[in-house]
Symmetry: D2
Subunit: 313 residues, 4 copies
């Protein structure tokens, strides 16, 4: 379609990593221009400056935990909003240059995190091989492709084999087949996607002091409206001792009455609250919150309040 410029998406590079795979999993990326960036901050800044329409970055790993750089970059600087999340099973493959067979592998390169996640398979399938650390899984693969490698094979994401035209010697070699990483697609602030009935809302709540009840106060704003939390992390704010922020994911959409009221409650008790977006949950395993029914309960209560305020009890 001439005249329509392609979208631009930044992502945490290099090419051939799981983040690129996460980005490629969304339809909008199909014909878009994809820009690998060296750091999460660089990817997000490309969005802030308008050089990219969105950025795909990792935010939480079932193995490694929260990605602090992403949480902190979203919590400060010009506001950004999450519009989508992607859950990607973290599956590793052993790959080599075409012509190399598994029995010929003596030295394997990969990122130490990947080595840790494939330890058992390596001890069984390649008990005599040595493992050398690389800067990223993709860079280990790249070395095989450009001939600079002094090792025989790399452990990397399957997408790296495609990228560098390597041969997969063994797939799904991770010890924990349920390992998954959560990525988020981040855009400049805009009206959130419409509620899907199974949404998630992300935010950062700043707390002024750390008396025993402070966090409880924050959580009560959610629980009193029966809004479930799916993630909470305390984060030091670096603004003097005893000041914390909490990075929180809750169930529901900012347009849901109960979520809206909980956010207003937070806004009243916290010195600052940063809204990071409402977007459909990527995991389909939970029942959708009956948002419409919920809203009816809230509307009924509001109508009742209107009646008693005007004497029609």
């Amino acid at each position: 379609m001439p005249g329509v410029p392609p979208a631009h998406y930044a992502y945490l590079g290099p090419e051939g990593t799981f983040t690129e795979a996460a980005l490629r999993s969304i339809p909008a990326a199909a014909k878009a221009d994809l820009q690998p960036q060296q750091t999460v901050g660089a990817a997000l800044d490309a969005v802030r400056r308008g050089e990219a329409d969105g950025a795909m970055v990792p935010i939480e790993s079932s193995v490694e935990g929260p990605v602090a750089a992403t949480l902190d970059e979203l919590a400060s600087g010009d506001p950004l909003m999450v519009t989508r999340e992607v859950l990607l099973p973290i599956s590793f493959a052993l790959m080599a240059a075409p012509g190399t067979g598994l029995h010929a592998v003596r030295r394997v390169a990969t990122h130490p995190h990947a080595a840790a996640q494939c330890r058992r398979w390596l001890s069984i399938a390649l008990p005599d091989a040595t493992v050398e650390p690389s800067l990223s899984t993709a860079s280990a693969a790249e070395g095989l492709a450009d001939g600079s490698a002094d090792y025989d094979a790399a452990i990397a994401a399957p997408i790296a084999a495609e990228h560098y035209r390597l041969t997969v010697l063994a797939a799904d070699i991770e010890d924990n087949p349920e390992a998954v990483t959560r990525f988020v697609l981040v855009s400049r602030p805009a009206e959130p996607p419409l509620p899907s009935g199974r949404d998630k809302t992300s935010l950062v709540a700043f707390i002024a002091d750390d008396h025993p009840g402070a966090l409880l106060e924050v959580l009560t704003e959610f629980s009193v409206r029966e809004v479930n939390l799916s993630r909470i992390e305390s984060r030091p704010t670096g603004q003097g001792m005893g000041r914390y922020s909490f990075s929180i994911d809750c169930e529901g959409h900012v347009d849901d009455a109960r979520v809206g009221e909980a956010l207003m409650g937070l806004r009243r008790v916290c010195p600052d609250v940063r809204f990071l977006g409402s977007y459909p949950r990527a995991d389909a395993d939970t029942e959708g919150v009956a948002a419409e029914k919920d809203d009816a309960v809230y509307r009924d209560a509001a109508a009742w309040l209107g009646r008693i305020r005007s004497g029609r009890v």
Copy 2:
């Protein structure tokens, strides 16, 4: 003013009691028709049937506690609303027929509650007098007036001396000079009086079951909006075991944002909530809740929610 019929007010009789004094303390009663009733229920029913424009009834005594009949009558039947409260110091006088002096008093009649509240004074001023029980303090005074009394003096409200043209032999004879009774003026449902900045709201919350957290849930709806409670009574509902209602007074007006939101919260978690009115507090000893400032905080939070819902973060 020809053409304007006088207002009619019912009250818990008989004439000459503290309830009549409470009713007479409000300007609107000055030219109104006052109707004593035998019971609280009869006084309230007169309002429900439209025979009275309002009813003054006792609701709480600093000495005797809550007046169950009033609480229960307000909690059931056709809805009524409290529009005003009156705090009346409970001060007793010893009164006799004109011509009787204090030294001639051998037998004193009064209601047992009044006798109990003047015990110390009696033991000092009239150590040899006997005290006989009467049905009400007013009926003890009435007996002196109509000559039916076989006693010399009565302990009653000062208003009874006026009524029955008796002589006050001693005033302020109560042992506890801080005793006070709270009366409420009850009307048919109508728009509550405008917020005065120092209001009180009364309601009844029905709870479906009595698990340990049920009452806590109710109270949390108030505390999370920082709405203070000034009175709470659990009341068995009589609808099977383990079903309770709570009679509650909270600070603030139903038109205040925080009170309104707390009431909506209650409405969502309780099977039934009955609103009993918002009205100015009779005690002037507490600072007015800064309702306007409060509402600004709520408006700010609502405006913020509007902004983030439309992407203007």
Copy 3:
């Protein structure tokens, strides 16, 4: 059994009332000396002075609500303890002197509260009779017995007919057949009765100020240990504005681990807590709290704490 002096029990008189019936319902009263007293305070003081071994007083009516005099007398003065509760169905009878038939009844005397509770029956069975107020139901019956009555019949407790040798013309004439009054047997402080597995504990908690969270703090001490409340009343303490006490009944026995820990928690957050006793529940309709199983959970946690404190994790 010669040499064993009879027990002495005080009760709220006069003779022939429901309180006497409540007292007579306990085995210990069978051969005891029963002393009617004019007021609740007098009955309790008889115990405090050692003139009575116990006192039976009403504490709560399903129709009239809490008995303020009893709550307040227990909350102040020398400590006393509740050792037993009695639930008595409040059933009224119409009684007259022998020889008087129902059709001959023109004037009925009774206490106004009793009249209110039999209103419907009176309107049907004796539509033309007038009702006259008496000081107590028993005094109405007494008047018939001593011939001083200018009325034909009395509404009183069945026990009054026995006392005054009157004829019951109609029994169970109360409008609400589920009306019940709760009485307590009060003694000087002593080790509470052993846990029965279905106990109740009474106490008064004094709160220093009335910030929104104060009552919530008190209730949380119970709910965090899953101790259910069966009654709560706020009571002004009369010690300046904004100072409240709460009269509370909770499920369980002071010897139960969870109740003991909740009481310790209260003791830490309240300026004063008065323990009023642990005693078996009179209503058999609820399942016994599995106190033994509960205690096992507490013992397990305590044993675990002992292990981690000594490094045996």
Copy 4:
């Protein structure tokens, strides 16, 4: 001292990193045998197997957030206990082989995290230099020492300059001078160090389900005993959806009455609680919790409970 074998301490290597500096900061490490390990898991396993007496590992960075590997390794496997924490300011130095001056630096190598933390300094002091990623800051320094480097200088911890006999060209070049990393010394389970009055307790609480109140329930066990939390992280347990654990640091020592009671409370409401140790706080900026005074309050409440249980009210 002949006959006393030196202690053995494992730490997250390689040599010349901040973790080694943290370990060297404790007196016990002075004459000990220090063993760098490739991963946190390997360091902790050395302790579990008895090959090391303790392990120093990073647990939280003010810049990078929690160290997931450490949290997860402590939460599973054979129990371990934290006995000490070390807070280390994260200060970077630019270092080069002796003879290289700052003006000769064209290419700088360092770990990407370190590059991110010195970005501003680099843009000012070395605007034309290129930055190349290395596997660790120490490996960048090592390359200069062994001559394998194709770059001129490294950014690393000051301890790396000592190790590899490099010259510090510029010290304290980090953009955020308050960046700090928290390390913990981990041992096999043993009686915790005696309370110092300013302690911290670490634990992991497992939650069975994720209803809105579950986390609130956990936090209430702390707040009701006024135990402050200094860190909380939700962690997916990997045992099916909707199952979470919470990694928590609270103020106080397991031997403190309030902390002990809070832990017992947790133990009762959580399917599992893992105690990870009580140890002195490394930051001296907060007032010591008045643990002794606290314990007196708890002892008083326990004594009071003893009295009322035996009838001595």
